[in-house]
């Protein structure tokens, strides 16, 4: 079992938290600060929120003798990233009233709202609950939002597979009523038995836990970056089961060799028999609960448990707990990893439109009234909203007869123009949030990548590579929220204006990239890319992706 000799502080906070209640009620009453008690900042994550502050405003506020501008980021739990039009409309209004106004689609298929003042949290969560949305376990040392291949036109069985996202999310949900009590003013529990939690007990998991479900051939969700990856195996038009992979995770820390990104390793196959499937999932989590490292949070993810004990051990322990062994993994192929922009039709004849949303940030600016457009589309009630793990959304499940109406709105707001105008690399790019809200950011990401891409585009033009679907991703620190290590070109922030450059990842997300050069500033980055693209143009084998080319040429540090 994991050594509990020197538990990390967070472990103690969890255990004495009275099922994640802590002193949150008192914190909400504090009249002298906009923050919450230190211990509560760890607990509030389990309720789907992070306490942050506007880092741009720190100095100025300090001079004014004002504390940091504390606010909260709420991340919703949206298994598989599905919204009804009503839910979108509600979110639009909540964002307008209580937050920065920007609706942010995340790399895990859900949305985040930033800048919520402490006294606006309850109204925010109440309006969400009115449309059956919550943020339970969207963060914290529990299972996070369950992701799934986003586009229904990928497979006739999409709906069937997609349904598992919500069911797994439910299976792994904490039992405590704290969320309802604290934020929705639900009656206090008289009988605590009602919230006994055999899965999480009073200690929850050593660290966050992520589950993703992929549907070959498109790996749009980067399934292997999850702690637990399920790959739908479809034979003769039937879902026969899932390949099971464990130990994915990208977080690393500069200068800490013990930390590293890792893709999930396939350990077997489980048939599409719910009891077996859920038992397998459940026990994979309990093993991590019992064996995961609880003294060093940097080494607490499942990936380190797997590497510490080995996959064979994990399989045996799993069989012990489930009472059955996993089958041999089935063959499958991922051929791509992208969103299908523009109009698509699925097997049932329903229509789907994917607009280009840069870094998942939905707002109205001088160029594009995207937020208003989406509101009006939602108000027609004719399109569902599906989020993708590339920070996009799909206007979904539109009937043939309604397509024209949606098309008309898309034109009215120039969404189609905007989407068609965006270059291939821009559409394939991801940047994490980083500054000003992310406390861990070492450098800019979503506020900077769009400019950088503009400059990269001119280099591509110069080398006549514009049509290439090169995948570029940037993060403000090594935690990997934008999955930069799984990109063909990854930029990982090291300090303001400086990034490590990673190369040689593949196009399908089955191979991690490697570090090429460190601490580059913009000039250096552009110089490197100019050279690399020139070489790529000159020496590529026909059909060879940039990532494969970089690998073949060994453009990485040994």
């Amino acid at each position: 079992m994991s050594d509990n000799k020197n538990l990390s502080p967070v472990e103690r906070i969890k255990q004495k938290s009275d099922a994640l209640r802590g002193t949150l009620q008192e914190s909400l009453q504090n009249e002298t600060t906009g923050a919450i008690a230190d211990d509560d900042t760890a607990l509030v994550k389990f309720h789907g929120m992070y306490m942050q502050d506007d880092r741009d405003r720190r100095e100025e506020r300090a001079e004014k003798k004002l504390e940091r501008l504390f606010s909260f980021m709420v991340r919703l739990r949206v298994p598989g990233g599905f919204f009804t039009p009503e839910q979108w409309i509600a979110t639009h209004h909540v964002a307008g009233e209580n937050t920065t106004g920007v609706i942010k689609i995340t790399t895990r298929q859900t949305i985040q709202l930033h800048g919520i003042l402490r006294n606006k949290i309850k109204p925010t969560l109440k309006s969400f609950s009115q449309v059956h949305l919550d943020s339970i376990a969207a963060c914290g040392d529990v299972n996070r939002n369950v992701t799934c291949a986003a586009h229904p036109s990928e497979s006739e069985l999409h709906a069937e597979v997609h349904a598992y996202a919500a069911r797994i999310s439910k299976l792994l949900l904490p039992k405590t009523r704290a969320f309802y009590e604290i934020w929705l003013d639900e009656e206090k529990l008289t009988d605590k038995k009602e919230e006994e939690d055999p899965l999480y007990q009073d200690r929850y998991l050593p660290r966050k836990f992520k589950v993703g479900i992929g549907i070959p051939p498109n790996n749009d969700l980067d399934v292997f970056t999850n702690d637990l990856a399920l790959i739908a195996i479809i034979e003769k038009g039937k879902l026969i089961g899932f390949n099971v992979a464990i130990g994915g995770g990208l977080g690393a820390t500069h200068g800490n060799a013990e930390t590293y990104p890792r893709l999930a390793s396939i350990i077997g196959f489980v048939p599409a028999d719910d009891e077996k499937l859920f038992k397998t999932i459940y026990e994979i989590v309990t093993i991590q609960r019992d064996y995961g490292n609880r003294s060093d949070r940097k080494l607490a993810r499942l990936k380190y448990t797997v590497d510490k004990y080995g996959t064979d051990w994990y399989k045996t322990e799993l069989a012990k707990r489930t009472g059955f062994a996993l089958g041999d993994p089935r063959p499958y192929v991922f051929t791509d990893r992208k969103d299908h922009y523009g109009w698509q039709q699925n097997h049932k004849g329903l229509w789907y439109y994917t607009p280009f949303i840069e870094n998942g940030r939905i707002l109205d600016d001088e160029k594009l009234a995207l937020k208003t457009a989406l509101l009006e589309i939602a108000q027609t009630g004719k399109a569902n909203f599906r989020f993708t793990c590339n920070q996009n959304l799909i206007l979904a499940d539109i009937l043939e007869k309604d397509k024209a109406a949606i098309q008309q709105l898309l034109e009215k707001y120039k969404i189609i123009e905007h989407t068609d105008a965006a270059s291939a690399i821009r559409k394939n790019a991801i940047a994490c949030v980083a500054l000003p809200t992310c406390p861990l950011a070492l450098a800019e990401a979503q506020r900077y990548l769009p400019d950088l891409i503009g400059k990269i585009e001119t280099i591509l033009v110069k080398h006549e590579l514009t049509p290439e679907n090169i995948i570029i991703r940037m993060t403000g620190c090594p935690n990997g929220c934008g999955r930069p290590y799984a990109a063909e070109i990854g930029f990982v922030g090291t300090s303001p204006g400086h990034y490590n450059m990673h190369l040689a990842g593949d196009h399908e997300g089955t191979r991690l990239n490697r570090i090429y050069k460190e601490n580059l500033d913009e000039t250096a980055i552009l110089k490197e890319l100019d050279l690399l693209f020139w070489l790529y143009k000159k020496e590529r084998i026909t059909g060879e992706t940039f990532g494969d080319f970089a690998l073949r040429q060994k453009y990485y540090k040994a």
């Binding site: 009249e31 002298t32 906009g34 001079e63 004014k64 003798k65 004002l66 504390e67 501008l69 006294n119």
Partner: protein
């Protein structure tokens, strides 16, 4: 009769003295003569001619020795009280049974029974009596009041830099006479350096009451005659000027840090200064009237250039009705009696010529000083004075304007200098170190409490401190938030309650937070806590009054009358004081 040097001396003295001073002088000499056992009348007459005011002298000379007097004071910042108590002590020494009483608690139906009644009263606001003396002041203004028995004298405290010098004292003096009272000492009007003048006045009274103060009176008396030297003026240099409100706030509250040589002040005092008029406004006035800015004219015994007067001395920005009325008389037009700026007057009702404007100059009043509570502590911020200035904002038919002085202060840049004086407030003082303190100071009302807390922090006072602060929005308007948080952490602040009125649907103010804390608050009161209120006189300080009454009723289980008595008791014992504006 007198030899030349003496005569010169006397003429010089007479020339340099105001009518009041002369009247006093005549009485004083009469007293001295009487004390020396010469016929008082002689000396009296001589001076009577000079002063052309023999009346008081005649009376005074005749008064028999008595043994019971009442000394009542009306004070805002404690000066009048201090003097009144000194007088009482002195009288007692002379074997006179002197009753000392604050006008706020004076029983009005005792007035007709009074025989000797001396009032020391200051003037506040724009010629108003101190809040504490309002009841008394209104009472003596009702007609039909009969006070035949009353023999009285009034000592008025004031400040010549205000338009209506010692107005409240003048009014009291007049009303008591109207009511049939007999003035046995002429009204004495004192500027801010009132000490010797006041003492002289009282010694004189004691003499009149037939009890000599002996030769010691002479030096005392002499010093009185010297023309008031005015208050001590300092020059301050701005070292920091920060707008404490964050972006997006509708307010602008400037934290000013000023260095000045050995300024003598205590927590609770405020800083006073006279704002200049905007240069552009002055030029326009000169342009419209065609007067010569360099021409010298004499106003209030002082000769100045017109330009200088308009820029630095006289209120032209926003004239009071009374001045507008006088203006109307000069230009002979009927002008609605409302406050208005001189510039607008000149535009709508122009003066005939420069000559007529000289007449107008004569009716203009001095610009009243503005006061700002000092938010620093001599102990904690040695050598510095801090202010917390809210930029006053108001709309005049649609157009946004700013207050004259607060605007100027808010625009001061580091290294700029300005002149100021200290306005002492001996009423608004920290209690003994071990006493508990409850401070209610929303908005800029927090200023003196920052001073209190800093002082108690650096002197290690053991008493508990509780602050109620309020403003519009938590994120943008929490003045001195981080400093207050630190004091909470270090325990200097025991409790901090805040009310931000516009962060929720319903308005929440400090009095609401007090009511929410009523049980605890009453416990503090019972434990002897001192309560201080600073900030807006209305509605805040009134609402706080009501809230306190309510708390005392509820938690003390007292009927209203008893609760009021409880609150009065707090006031009288100096445990409930306000500095509101």
């Amino acid at each position: 009769m007198l030899n030349t040097p003496k005569l010169n001396l006397m003429q010089e003295l007479i020339a340099g003295s105001s009518r009041e001073e002369l009247i006093w002088l005549s009485g004083y000499l009469a007293g001295v003569v009487a004390a020396q056992g010469h016929p008082a009348a002689a000396a009296g007459q001589v001076l009577a001619q000079i002063a052309s005011a023999a009346a008081p002298v005649a009376e005074s000379a005749a008064t028999p020795s008595i043994n019971k007097i009442t000394i009542a004071y009306g004070t805002e910042t404690g000066n009048s009280k201090k003097l009144a108590s000194d007088f009482a002590a002195k009288a007692k020494k002379k074997g006179i049974n002197a009753k000392l009483v604050g006008l706020e608690t004076y029983r009005l139906n005792d007035l007709p029974k009074e025989e000797y009644f001396f009032t020391v009263i200051s003037t506040q606001g724009d010629g108003e009596p101190p809040a504490a003396a309002k009841k008394f002041y209104d009472h003596i203004h009702q007609n039909g009041l009969k006070l035949e028995k009353l023999k009285y004298g009034v000592l008025a405290l004031g400040d010549t830099s205000y338009p209506l010098f010692c107005k409240a004292g003048e009014d009291v003096d007049q009303q008591l006479q109207k009511a049939g009272g007999q003035r046995i000492a002429s009204l004495e009007k004192c500027d801010t350096d009132y000490e010797s003048q006041a003492v002289g006045w009282f010694d004189h009274i004691l003499q009149q009451l037939g009890t000599s103060t002996g030769p010691s009176a002479a030096p005392n008396g002499a010093s009185v005659i010297a023309k008031p030297t005015g208050k001590k003026i300092y020059t301050g240099t701005v070292v920091a000027n920060i707008n404490l409100n964050d972006r997006g706030s509708s307010k602008q509250t400037h934290h000013l840090e000023i260095v000045a040589e050995e300024v003598d002040y205590q927590p609770g005092d405020s800083l006073g200064l006279v704002p200049e008029n905007p240069a552009l406004m002055v030029e326009t006035v000169l342009g419209l009237t065609g007067v010569d800015a360099d021409r010298k004219i004499t106003i209030r015994q002082e000769e100045h250039k017109i330009g200088h007067l308009l820029r630095k001395k006289l209120n032209i920005v926003y004239l009071p009705e009374r001045v507008v009325k006088k203006y109307a008389a000069i230009v002979q037009q009927d002008i609605p009696e409302t406050r208005i700026g001189l510039l607008d007057l000149l535009k709508i009702y122009p003066v005939r010529d420069a000559a007529q404007f000289h007449e107008v100059m004569a009716i203009l009043e001095p610009t009243a000083p503005r006061l700002y509570s000092i938010s620093s502590s001599p102990e904690a911020h040695g050598g510095e004075i801090h202010l917390t200035v809210a930029k006053d904002k108001f709309a005049v038919n649609g157009e946004i304007k700013h207050g004259l002085c607060s605007d100027q202060l808010s625009l001061l840049a580091p290294d700029q200098t300005f002149e100021f004086y200290i306005h002492k407030n001996s009423q608004f003082r920290l209690p003994a170190p071990e006493k508990d303190v409850i401070m209610i100071g929303p908005g800029t009302g927090v200023a003196p409490f920052r001073s209190f807390l800093a002082q108690r922090d650096s002197t290690g006072a053991s008493g508990r401190n509780w602050l109620f602060f309020g403003d519009q929005h938590f994120t943008t308007d929490f003045l001195y938030q981080t400093e207050l948080q630190n004091w909470l952490q270090t325990g200097v602040l025991t409790k901090l309650n805040t009310a931000f009125s516009r962060d929720q649907a319903e308005k929440v103010y400090v009095q609401h937070k007090m009511l929410r804390e009523s049980a605890e608050l009453f416990r503090w009161l019972e434990a002897g806590a001192y309560v201080y209120v600073c900030g807006a006189k209305e509605p805040m300080s009134v609402d706080v009054d009501v809230a306190l009454l309510h708390i005392i009723q509820k938690e003390g289980k007292k009927p209203l009358a008893q609760a009021e008595a409880y609150l009065d008791e707090l006031k009288e014992s100096g445990r409930y004081v306000k500095d509101v504006y």
